[in-house]
Subunit: 320 residues, 2 copies
């Protein structure tokens, strides 16, 4: 199923969200304005705003609040990417040059801050102190999770538990904010908010596991960044953990981390591809998708609820 | 008058704010926790929380909301300093090594983000969408102002207007948030909120002018960072603008910017000190302090109002 079909119940409003994101760039500084319009136009799959709208549409859908919320989650996502790229010295993202590679780390830091501010302004328009608090807590979870990842880089001895903790912080927490806020702003009963949290938490983890798989199985052309980027950055992902478990000594992950020599990256990719590790990882991702959807049946039977089921399937088959 | 005396009407609550700032560091990551407690303990003059509390105390003082607000403005201030130091490659601040100099730019970026998140959580506790919106707008003003400053670095041709615009963004906007939020959260009438905004705007500009004077007249020992830091960073401040105006050709500011050779910094400092430029700058700062206080007489006659007058005097005579 294509993403467009899955988004059908909220497609029109998602277009409004994208337009609103573009208008964010109408600001004082002409120079900044140009760069920002370039940045926010690149909203990619717009998965997080779609989650907010679809979650909201399961209940009393009110675009007055859901629109700024959807804008807010995408802006927060974009802001974290801008900072991440500066931290990782990444040269490309989605096939385009990163902000830091064009204008330097200084502008990347400040532009990320500016986008956080705009995200904060948008979430303030929801008029919901509960959602605003959740928004800030999520930013705290993301940044402390990133600190954890950065500090643990090139450390082969990290546990699976640590991995899941890290990917919750860096990815699932924002998915969870997206779905919960949609439900809260649409006056969902508390049990339903909890179900939407469970959905966001688990879908986010599944999404990140698949991201980590694609870093081994995809192509630079499809991803818009080099294959094996995680290993090069020293980030220990699930396929790499499994490889290390199977070859506890002299495995190419350990060698990459020890020597930072990229020749071992190709070897690691090759070994992962020629094993059942990818299948095992997909199995794990699939289990998280099942957990995500486990209680959705308690929600009102709507087209939006069906889209949430379909999104969980999509996450497992996506190629970028 | 000492700062302690000026703060007297809110001194006890200011201690609570500082304790609360220290408790922010009780978080998941032990390593991060240690660094944060080090960071937030350094609250310096705590001018911004004091402004919030004093502004609030002119009206219906309610610590339930003023406490998180005071914590929030100091956290936002600290977060911007952490990012600024990374951008400027600053080695010391307040006589201590900066986060970026100890742990690198990456951790500085993420720790700044984390502090923004904590500031956001605190402001959410005010339960006031208006104040929360103002908070985010202020962060936007600060970061776009910093972008402007960074882009304009080493450009001798910046106007005074540009200078005042820049220092509004980087300093006065947060003073203004501090005073306005204090008034709003204490149910001040709209005219009084406007007076507190006028006070914060103008006090902030005066404060920054004095900061820029001290960069020429103070000592490394007193400031905890090298004298002439602004010139070295390429930041054109009011004393430097005046020097450039008086010696339009071959002035040491221009030479510093062109050659980035620090020998001209000493020359510029010497020339500024041996002129009436410092007096002229103090005169300008003093005018902003007068503007700040101009309408305070319309506020209720309280000890806190007197403190606001006294703070405006203090800003002009402070040595660090």
């Amino acid at each position: 199923m294509e993403l467009n079909e899955i988004y059908a119940p909220v497609q029109e409003d998602l277009i409004k969200v994208k337009k609103s994101l573009t208008s964010i760039s109408r600001i004082d500084y002409q120079w900044l304005s140009e760069q920002l319009s370039f940045l926010v136009r690149e909203t990619g799959k717009a998965l997080r705003p779609a989650l907010t709208l679809l979650s909201g549409k399961c209940f009393k859908y009110n675009l007055t609040y859901l629109m700024p919320m959807s804008v807010s989650v995408e802006l927060m996502h974009t802001a974290t990417l801008v900072h991440d790229d500066a931290i990782d010295n990444a040269l490309t993202r989605r096939g385009r040059a990163t902000i830091n590679s064009i204008w330097g780390d200084e502008i990347a830091i400040l532009m990320g801050d500016y986008l956080f501010a705009k995200a904060g302004e948008a979430v303030a328009d929801t008029q919901s102190p509960r959602v605003i608090k959740l928004f800030s807590q999520t930013l705290g979870t993301i940044s402390s999770g990133e600190i954890n990842q950065f500090r643990g880089a090139f450390d082969i001895k990290q546990s699976r538990e640590n991995y899941f903790h890290r990917i919750y912080g860096k990815t699932a927490s924002l998915f969870s904010l997206s779905t919960q806020s949609g439900a809260i702003l649409s006056e969902a009963p508390e049990e339903s908010v909890a179900i939407m949290k469970e959905y966001g938490d688990n879908l986010g983890i599944a999404f990140q596991i698949v991201d980590d798989i694609l870093d081994f199985t995809s192509t630079e052309e499809a991803m818009g960044k080099p294959v094996g980027s995680d290993l090069i950055q020293g980030t220990l992902t699930l396929p790499a953990i499994m490889l290390a478990e199977r070859y506890p000594e002299d495995n190419p992950v350990q060698k990459t981390f020890e020597t930072k020599d990229t020749k071992y990256v190709a070897k690691a990719i090759d070994m992962v591809r020629n094993s059942d590790i990818i299948d095992e990882c997909f199995k794990t991702a699939s289990e998280y998708c099942e957990k995500a959807c486990h209680n959705l049946r308690s929600l009102p039977d709507t087209a939006s609820r069906q889209s949430l089921y379909d999104l969980a399937d999509f996450v497992l088959v996506r190629e970028v």
